[in-house]
């Protein structure tokens, strides 16, 4: 079906945009001005590293089987079976690329919990190990027809477990292993540029339509007739688009409302955060619930996450940009709420792949909720273990942290030899670095 194929190309490009630049902007604005470049670089580097790893052995480990998503019911798939897309038809490349973008952003999401303080080289080593032993197996089990799918099929339309809970748990474990930033809870560490964060959140929202609406890819079954799939495409994309939109709007407003009541003011960071929390929660559920369900899930995610992000201070946990409070909490809300709000009238219900889809509030039994909970637990355990092993391995070998002096001076200069801003006011001529840059110019041209 040409329209479907064309949409998948667009959706894939949209999800690529979510990491670079959307997530890089969203996170970058929230760091201090001395570490914004490093924060953005963690996303950009994840794009390069994970993208290549995915093509080499990721697709094989996730979707190993016949190359189009039919799994083997086992916990893990052979990384060498389709190494470097061996025997994968070029007409399936776009599906490989679509999945590639998901792996990339999952790795990049983790970086928010360890802002300002880790060596770029250690980050690269970690994401390669973690993506291989956490992301690929989990994707295989949830989407690729692996062990979990065979025994406890759980509904994850676009990545509530595979992407958000997965990244949230890894972020939590890494924040614990790597430790707090110098001066955490003592020095002010407020966001340095919320306009970047607002732009990033807006771009994430836009790109997320590729993420969620593009995830119709999972329900495209080669056994279906063309006419049947065509009909499904038309009805399903509208619903997932609508649910994604409504949940995000509700979450943003809910976050702002909680802020207004608790702190007296609705903030721009609250709006940006609410948008992301809503998108996270509707990610697993956008194909399983009604419009009303989407509104409830969004409002719940916005409200709960806005409270959850403040909890880290009680535990003195430096999850710097709230990967846990937004992605882990939001992901769990979305995954579990399917057990309550899932309905047979939703796209996935009509599709019939998952049997009775009615959640508890729609008169169903607790099986669905049980499977959702098992999916959440499975992801937490696998992701947590992989993060623990690779986190500790790096801590006791190459080390995670830059030196304390470098951290205080700013990681941008220490790790990259750059500073983000050279802002001179209109009356100031002191800020420009004319002398140095002219000598650099000579050096380059020579």
């Amino acid at each position: 079906m040409d329209g479907y194929y064309a949409w998948m190309i667009v959706a894939t490009a949209l999800v690529l945009m979510m990491t670079t630049p959307a997530l890089a902007l969203f996170y970058g604005g929230m760091t201090r001005s001395k570490s914004v470049l490093n924060m953005m670089m963690m996303s950009y580097v994840a794009m390069g590293v994970i993208g290549i790893v995915f093509v080499l052995w990721g697709w094989s480990m996730g979707w190993g089987g016949d190359g189009v998503g039919n799994g083997n019911g086992s916990f893990i798939a052979n990384p060498f079976h389709m190494f470097a897309l061996h025997n994968v038809s070029t007409s399936n490349y776009i599906y490989v690329l679509f999945q590639l973008t998901f792996a990339v952003i999952t790795a990049a999401l983790i970086s928010g919990s360890i802002a300002d303080r880790v060596k770029l080289s250690s980050w690269v080593v970690f994401i390669v190990g973690w993506i291989t032993f956490a992301y690929f197996p989990i994707a295989h089990n949830v989407w690729g027809g692996g062990w979990l799918y065979a025994h406890f099929p759980n509904l994850d339309y676009a990545g509530g477990t595979v992407v958000h809970i997965n990244a949230g748990v890894a972020g939590l474990v890494l924040a614990l292993i790597i430790g707090r930033r110098v001066g955490f809870m003592k020095d002010p560490m407020k966001p340095h540029n919320l306009t970047l964060t607002m732009i990033g959140a807006g771009l994430l929202w836009f790109g997320w339509y590729g993420f969620n609406v593009g995830s119709i890819v999972f329900t495209s079954d080669s056994a279906k007739s063309a006419a049947k799939f065509s009909e499904q495409f038309y009805s399903e994309t509208g619903v997932t688009f609508m649910n994604t939109t409504l949940a995000t709007m509700a979450a943003m407003l809910a976050w702002l409302l909680v802020e207004r009541i608790v702190h007296g003011k609705a903030t721009s960071l609250g709006a940006a955060s609410g948008v992301v929390a809503g998108l996270v929660a509707i990610t697993p559920s956008c194909g399983a619930v009604s419009l009303l369900g989407a509104l409830i899930i969004g409002a719940l995610a916005g409200g709960v996450c806005s409270v959850a992000v403040g909890m880290k201070f009680r535990f003195r946990l430096d999850d710097s940009l709230d990967v846990v409070g937004v992605h882990l909490v939001g992901g769990i809300i979305g995954a579990l709420m399917i057990g309550l709000l899932g309905t047979n009238t939703s796209p996935q219900g009509k599709d019939g792949l998952f049997g009775d889809m009615n959640g508890l509030l729609y008169g169903g039994n607790a099986t669905l909720l049980g499977h959702q909970a098992i999916g959440v637990l499975f992801t937490i355990v696998v992701s947590g273990l992989a993060a623990l092993v690779f986190g500790l391995l790096i801590k006791y070998t190459i080390g995670w942290r830059i030196t304390e002096d470098d951290e205080v001076e700013g990681i941008d200069f220490a790790e990259h030899g750059e500073t983000a801003y050279d802002l001179a006011t209109s009356t100031s001529r002191l800020g420009s670095s004319s002398v140095l840059s002219s000598s650099v110019k000579e050096g380059v041209s020579a």
Binding site: P188, P191, G270, S273, V307, G310, D322, G325, T427
Partner: protein
């Protein structure tokens, strides 16, 4: 010769400048500064975390004037910068020994 230094609220700067120009002050030095007085700073909340912002942005104006103009200039600044609320700033006067105009080398009163 005296140096009149005023630290005022940023949004009052245009009014102060206009008032000084009307009086006949021909030049001044202006800088963006931060500080705090009795008002202290303020609190900002980001994702539920409260930050005490100690420093408040201010504008500092420096004017060199003849001894005879000191009280007029000071009064003009105070009048134009006043809102009556806490955080309006301060004006102070200090003596200076000599002034030289860079372009001509003129000294003291001739250089003002």
């Amino acid at each position: 010769m005296k140096l009149v230094t005023a630290v005022i609220k940023p949004h009052k700067w245009e009014e102060v400048r206009e008032a000084l120009e009307t009086f006949g002050v021909t030049g001044m030095t202006v800088s963006e500064v931060s500080g705090y007085g009795r008002q202290k700073g303020h609190t900002e909340v980001y994702r539920g975390a409260e930050y005490d912002i100690a420093l408040v942005p201010k504008i500092r104006i420096e004017i060199v004037v003849d001894d005879g103009d000191v009280s007029d200039v000071s009064d003009i600044v105070v009048k134009a910068a006043q809102t009556g609320r806490i955080g309006d700033g301060k004006v102070w006067v200090s003596s200076i020994d000599s002034v030289i105009r860079v372009r001509t080398g003129e000294r003291d009163e001739a250089a003002i």
